[in-house]
Symmetry: C2
Subunit: 336 residues, 2 copies
């Protein structure tokens, strides 16, 4: 079992900044990346926050992530732009692409930006939240290395290709951030680290039986797609679209998960202000969520929530009390 300590977000951010500067990122890049890793941790997504930070530094040292590298425009047409991420830091490339898509959408109602040759964007929801702050709905996704077998297959040839659907709501957003596996790798690692079983069978053991033991699935690389054939099919289509629209690599070209780099991403922003009924967007969403909340729970333990509903509670708690971090992990981060 892991011993957790709570780290204040300011301390976390400043430690990340120090390490990023030491590894070749300029001040703006270091602040930008440190902000994202800290915010993801604050929001409770430590799997793509503090827990993932050492790997980000490792990938930088290996040359997969290139400090100082900025996106460059490949082509543009109407409301669309294709950019080369030039292997720059994934979260900064993705924020840039989000903001460009929002800009295109302000001129055309809808805007699409694609990134080829970019890197892992960490938490997918970050970009849905960013678009929401600017009053935009967003659909965005990334492909990944091959980490999920197709439905009916043993060997991982599809990515889990995290995908976001988001809309602004009040001061925050409704943000659906989901990988194509039933349980994301980060989630399975959290369960394993806590010594817990998954609440549902999430993949196959190394001996080929369906299991809810996360450590077995993390060894076998045979997670189940969400919705079986449906998650498998959606993964395939997201990969095809990412590769085709960006002109970048598809999952089978990314090849290795130990050194995943040069992935492809798509960002589609929807400017809600230009809509005929824009005044009522928030009311419409409020009424839909209000109806959802009237649902009769299946049992006493069931809670009916909308995607992203708990972000604020996590953020507020962690802001006040600090982010829970594996003590050994934090010690090793501080030595980077």
């Amino acid at each position: 079992m892991i011993e957790f300590i709570r780290i204040r977000p300011e301390q976390m951010r400043s430690e990340f900044c120090r390490i990023l500067r030491k590894h070749g990122f300029d001040e703006d890049e270091a602040i930008g990346c440190a902000d994202i890793f800290t915010l993801n941790s604050l929001d409770g997504v430590t799997s793509h926050g503090v827990n993932r930070f050492p790997r980000f530094i490792k990938n930088t040292m290996e040359g997969f992530i290139r400090p100082g590298s900025k996106p460059s425009l490949i082509s543009s047409f109407g409301a669309t732009e294709q950019w080369d991420g030039n292997l720059g830091p994934g979260p900064l490339n993705a924020l840039f692409a989000t903001d460009r898509a929002v800009t295109l959408a302000s001129a055309s109602g809808i805007g699409m930006v694609t990134l080829a040759n970019t890197n892992h964007w960490m938490r997918a929801g970050t970009y849905g939240l960013r678009a929401a702050q600017q009053g935009n709905a967003m659909i965005c996704w990334t492909n990944t290395c091959p980490n999920m077998p197709a439905w009916g297959a043993k060997d991982a040839r599809l990515g889990n290709n995290p995908c976001v659907f988001s809309v602004p709501f009040g001061d925050s957003a409704v943000v659906l951030d989901f990988a194509m596996t039933l349980f994301s790798y980060g989630k399975m690692e959290n369960y394993r680290n806590a010594g817990k079983k998954l609440p549902f069978p999430g993949g196959y053991s190394t001996t080929g039986t369906v299991t809810n033991d996360p450590s077995e699935i993390l060894k076998s690389w045979r997670p189940l797609p969400a919705g079986y054939w449906k998650g498998s099919g959606l993964s395939l289509l997201l990969d095809i679209l990412a590769a085709v629209l960006s002109g970048g690599k598809s999952t089978h070209e990314v090849k290795s998960c130990s050194s995943e780099y040069a992935v492809s991403q798509v960002f589609i922003a929807f400017n809600l202000k230009i809509l005929h009924n824009c005044d009522s967007v928030n009311d419409t969403i409020s009424a839909i969520l209000g109806d959802l909340k009237k649902s009769i729970p299946a049992d006493e333990e069931s809670a009916i929530r909308y995607p992203g509903e708990r972000i604020e509670a996590f953020r507020n708690d962690n802001q006040v009390n600090g982010v829970p971090v594996d003590k050994a992990l934090w010690t090793s981060i501080c030595s980077l």
Copy 2:
């Protein structure tokens, strides 16, 4: 058990045409609708082809579907247009919206058309195939009446909101057409009619236990979302986006499934010809599918297929041998 006869597609189409003309559709509308119901049946999707035709006529007689009604423009901005479907026949409205989105995409790279107050579009894949014929990728979806409980809930407040992701490929397309329930209602009806159990638990019985008996789930209205909380979350976001982007009704406003009408739909077309790498689109898709096909099957019964792969085989077989139709159903259709 049902006795099947095989009906030649020309006979089916001409019978549909006759009945549609009799129920107030003009010649163009009748031909347009008959084509879609026949093609869906030819492609093996009888649940949204011949099997659904009597309900389409019933909904027309009830006044939910209005012959002669055409879409009217509500607003347009840049690469986006909002249309009112005016309760016209859903498949024709959806074809119209697909073609408009393709036209917008030819000017702007990407184009979005929304429909408020439209009707059931039958088979979602129809519109992905139509966009593909014009060299466009497409993402489109519809909301529905409340026919699926949210994850953790007993009562159906979400729709199963069928969604399409498609890309042209060779002379055809890769078309993912999926409802948010693990098994669509049409699929569950097919299993029930064939006296078969579902291959996986697909929902709850009327007494609240998880079951693979399709007739129990069709009674309880408690299908499981695909990927549990993931299908539930995606259903919610598709509904919010459909309502907000179109200005039309959301699932909770559609209310009744016995007389579902005035749904909202979104069509996003992607013009692949304007892309920097457009020459290689087909090669890229071919390479991705080629890699997928190298998958090691999990067991002897597993086949690794891409979405839409079997359409051509169904179509060719049914073209030559006729579409398999429930004999009693066909007799009742001929009496309409």
